[in-house]
Symmetry: C2
Subunit: 418 residues, 2 copies
């Protein structure tokens, strides 16, 4: 069968399945999620055997140790996938929730009710657990999912798909409600991105290259962020101990993720007293500093930053540092180089805290907290399926609610328009 | 100056203006709206003189009387434009509204706040008042607007743009906050649709041809509906007097609009008793009926419907009629031929009312009320800028709130992730 036909058939059957999944009760969906979790644990040996094929290929291709580590499905990873599904079971079902209801002067009662989006296509490069996470969240929100993981995880994702579909079948849910694309060929992605008749939303997760490819080739709406160039601005009225703790956490705790700090902005009034101890801590942690001329005066071991550093997303133990003369210079820098992802201020000044929150255009803006909190779980949305820096539909972490929309329901007793 | 450069400059300046408009207080925005309204009244003679040029062109080109009527800006139309702006002044400002705020276990206070989308491109064929309506709604929601009306209303829209920008200037708001495209050439639309760097959303309004053109050529997200193929289903347990009143209103009150009924579905148990008097009333109103074979048996003067009638949006005094054996047959027909716009059931049966509301996938689903209520004003959202049958971001009429999004704000006191 041609790739074209394979993918089109998948999309069509997903649309059909979506109609059934949209009207499943919460109990039924939770039952399916629990069955998937149980099967993952029961079939751990099979999963690891299939994963071993991917690992062998990866070693043969000479993939880095970090890549191989991400690809490895150990018992601990399997338990964490099952545990993640358990967490999704505990989340409240967004479907059917009435987000508002009001009475019109003519007696019409008008309400808005959450409904699923339909069919969601996920395209990702991440570790195989993304397959389970995405399938679980899509199902709980009443959507069908078409999943396309990285080709290096092909065998792992295929066995995970079999486990998911086995659990769906046992629960009486159409197996087309969660499908993994069964071909490695990248043209499968192009074909998927053209299925606007059947697929309602595409969520890509991965490097900027993958995401740009998806955006440029998709006829279907895409929710995504290209990158996270996140700033911490240390204000002249910052508690410097707090600023140090937050800056350290934002850069060092997990440098390879999108909500890690990439540029530190420091008010000139506190630049010396803040940067001396801060640079020492960063040095101990192995962070390379790339500073503006003023920064390099204060911290002689810092390298001089170039024009490429300010828009850079290092995803590594590298940090750009700039001394600014005012909060305005900081917010102007953020407006120019930021990626509308996550921006933080550290300050004790009430007015500047309020102004920063209002004026900075980013999906998450924080006062006196680490950028690392831009995460669905940390912000209280439950598990997240991604982060959007597009403003339409969702801006920020996307949880179950963002996988739904609302329709209007109207209760009348014979009203007509005059 | 080339069209390319004209439009790109407009888009860039709109983005710049959007930053200022986003942070204007409600009073300032309302002041500008009131000034526009006052100027419209003050400069009525000038507006009518410019409009006369469009009307002369239209007569020369032999446009229909209906088209010329839509194009005419009379004193009454000017008063209605000014009145419409007064209504927008009275609407609550969505910007800055906190849609939720909660405390996390670690003491972080997390909230979601409404913010404007940015720059909105409106492409429409409608009467010149659309220019005023769209500019008013975009401004109140804190957005900059780029407006492109029909070429037949070019002179009218140009003078309206001058009036709007005069009022903006007097209020101290950048005039690039509301711009009308100053070239007739259609390539201007193609250039606008490529400005994804500066424009955040495109809303097209008009015929299906225009909308498909916009969707196919836009690099920017589009909110739209292609057409409104709306149904009324008269259930076996309907109050037939109510069903007659609703069906008549849905078809006849204003047949040329997207929320008018195009197909009437009637349960076979009440087909005879309902269709006899209903057909008489439709005949008096000049409605042509195109029925399924059963309908034609009951109403011999009905024409036989063909396969083209079920998906048709007549926008005219023509109605397709089908007798169905069950509500399932009705909802299957709606799923197949409907356009996810507006669907209504007339019934006294509690369970079927609930099932219809839940199972029918449309932006507005009504029980015992006319389809004509799918309208922002009628549903209580205030003025509307359009209706979306795309599910992403907005599904149904779009009011001020749909011209905004939310960002997360986080208040901490030194929290870091562990």
């Amino acid at each position: 069968m041609s790739i074209e036909k394979t993918i089109t058939d998948m999309a069509r059957s997903a649309k059909e399945a979506a109609k059934a999944v949209a009207h499943l009760g919460t109990q039924k969906k939770d039952e399916a999620l629990e069955r998937i979790a149980q099967k993952l644990l029961d079939e751990a040996a099979t999963i690891k055997r299939e994963n071993e094929k991917d690992l062998a290929d990866a070693r043969e291709k000479g993939l880095s140790e970090a890549m191989i580590d991400r690809l490895t499905v150990s018992d601990a990873v399997i338990e964490s996938m099952a545990g993640g599904l358990g967490d999704v079971v505990k989340l409240p079902d967004p479907v059917g929730r009435v987000t508002g209801m009001w009475l019109r002067p003519n007696g019409l009662q008008v309400g808005r009710v959450r409904i699923p989006l339909g069919v969601i296509g996920m395209i990702y490069e991440a570790r195989p657990n993304a397959t389970i996470d995405a399938a679980g969240l899509c199902l709980k929100a009443g959507n069908a999912a078409i999943l396309r993981g990285g080709s290096e995880a092909f065998n792992s994702n295929t066995i995970l798909a079999e486990i998911i579909q086995g659990a769906l079948r046992e629960t009486g849910i159409p197996k087309a409600a969660a499908q993994v694309i069964p071909v490695r060929d990248r043209t499968a992605v192009n074909v998927l991105l053209a299925q606007d008749e059947y697929v309602d939303l595409i969520i890509p997760r991965g490097g900027e290259g993958l995401i740009r490819f998806v955006v440029e080739n998709s006829k279907i709406p895409v929710l995504k962020h290209y990158k996270g160039v996140c700033h911490v601005y240390v204000d002249e009225d910052a508690d410097l101990g707090m600023a140090e703790k937050i800056s350290y956490n934002a850069k060092v705790q997990r440098p390879g993720v999108c909500n890690a700090m990439e540029t530190l902005l420091v008010h000139e009034a506190v630049a010396e007293s803040f940067l001396h101890p801060m640079a020492r801590r960063f040095k101990e942690a192995g962070v390379e500093l790339r500073g503006c001329p003023k920064t390099c005066e204060i911290v002689p071991e810092a390298n001089i930053a170039t024009d490429e550093d300010w828009p850079a997303e290092y995803l590594d133990l590298i940090l750009a540092v700039k001394v600014v003369a005012s909060m305005e210079e900081a917010t102007d820098h953020i407006a120019r180089y930021g990626s509308a992802h996550t921006e933080a201020i550290v300050t004790s000044d009430y007015a500047r805290a309020r102004r920063f929150l209002t004026e900075v255009d980013a999906s998450v803006v924080l006062v006196n907290a680490s950028t690392r909190f831009n995460d669905g779980g940390e912000l209280g949305l439950g598990a997240e399926i991604g982060i959007s820096t597009s403003k339409l539909h969702a801006y920020g972490p996307m949880g179950l609610e963002e996988l739904t929309t609302t329709k209007f329901v109207v209760f009348g007793d014979g009203q007509v328009r005059t």
